[in-house]
Each structure stands twice: as C-alpha cells, then as structure tokens.
Symmetry: C2
Subunit: 115 residues, 2 copies
C-alpha cells in the first residue's frame, strides 16, 4: 500500500459524514457520523462511528479515539482495528442522546480502548 | 480573562457551523461556516469564515489558518487578529464554488497570512 501525505489531503467537516471505515481485512464496517474536535487545539479527538447494522450492532453511535484510525488513500477511507467482540462492550449512545463529552466520559472511552 | 483547558472542551463537527468569531476588540466579525481537516492527522488546517456582511465583506467564504484563531472560553468563540484592510485582499470564494484545497491553493492562503 502506498500512502502519500500532502497538504492536499484535507476534507471539509461538512463532508465528513459518510466517510467509510474499514477493518484490517478491508471489509466496510460503516461510516463516520460525526467528529468531536478539541476547541482549543483544533485536533480531532473522536470519530463518532455508525456501523449501520454491521454484525448486528444496530444504529448506536460509537466514539472511537482518533489515533485508532489510519487513513488509507487507496480506499479513501479509514481503517480501524476493531472486531465484533471489542465493539460489543464498547461505549455507545443513541443518535438523539449524545452524552456530555466531559472528562469522566472521555476517560471512560479512552480507557476502554487502552489509552 | 480566565481560560481553562480541559478534555471537556470538544465540539461536534456538526455544531461548528455558527460558532462566533470576534476581533481583538471583542466585536463579532461573523461565524465559522466550515472546517478543513487534515485527513491523516485529524488536525484542523483552516476555519472557513463567513463575515455576514461585516464591513461590507459580502457573503464570500474566507479560509483562515487555524493557528490564527484563539479560543476564548468567556465568549465561547474564537478571536482572530483581522481587520478590514487585511481582509480586503484576502483569499475568498463563493459558497457554491469551493476551490480544490491543493498545495498551490493552501500555499497561497498560508502565504497571505504570513505562514
């Protein structure tokens, strides 16, 4: 896989919704529904993923720490090392019930994924 | 002014539209219309601003390098050191005519603001 990084590789926040997410085997898991961005630094902290019924995961939203995502230019999407077993116990919420991303919540998400 | 930084200070990309932007004197200049995000690093590169007729600037969109924005918790918005003279010659585009953010375009924006 050839991955080239350039200043060109920017995406509008308006277009983030719907960016595809794949597992390491190249299977499409779902899409990014939203991003949670640090207001001060401008760094994306979490990609909020929708698995769209993949593996029976339903329509809940899953916040994933940004540094778990690797961008793959060939697929024009992100790859995350996640499987059903890991996701079954993962932090999630309904689309219309977004939690307050306070320190307690953020810590619980980070801890779940080993950060 | 007291500015506290915590892991709590995240904002949904869905809610970025409409975040207020002020000048150093505290006058509201306009709002953020969009963010341009580095796909690889997850770092916001540009805030795309709308000045909403401020100072007769019209409805064009102005990409501003992210590191020019300072978040002010007291105003719950961003402060940028911009005045009319600087904006009159600044890179801009119509909302329905977004340029390709390639290296040439990005470089021209950065250069205009001295980066």
């Amino acid at each position: 896989m050839t991955t080239t990084t350039s200043i060109h590789d920017v995406i509008s926040s308006d277009r983030v919704e719907g960016t595809s997410v794949y597992n390491a085997a190249g299977d499409k898991l779902g899409t990014i529904d939203d991003l949670m961005i640090d207001k001060i630094s401008g760094q994306v902290r979490y990609a909020v993923m929708e698995f769209g019924g993949f593996l029976g995961m339903g329509t809940d939203r899953y916040p994933i720490p940004w540094n778990m995502l690797k961008y793959d230019t060939a697929q024009d999407g992100y790859v995350v090392p996640l499987d059903k077993a890991k996701l079954e116990g993962a932090p999630r919420y309904a689309d219309d019930d977004v939690p307050d991303y306070d320190e307690a919540y953020s810590s619980s998400v980070n801890k779940y994924y080993g950060f």
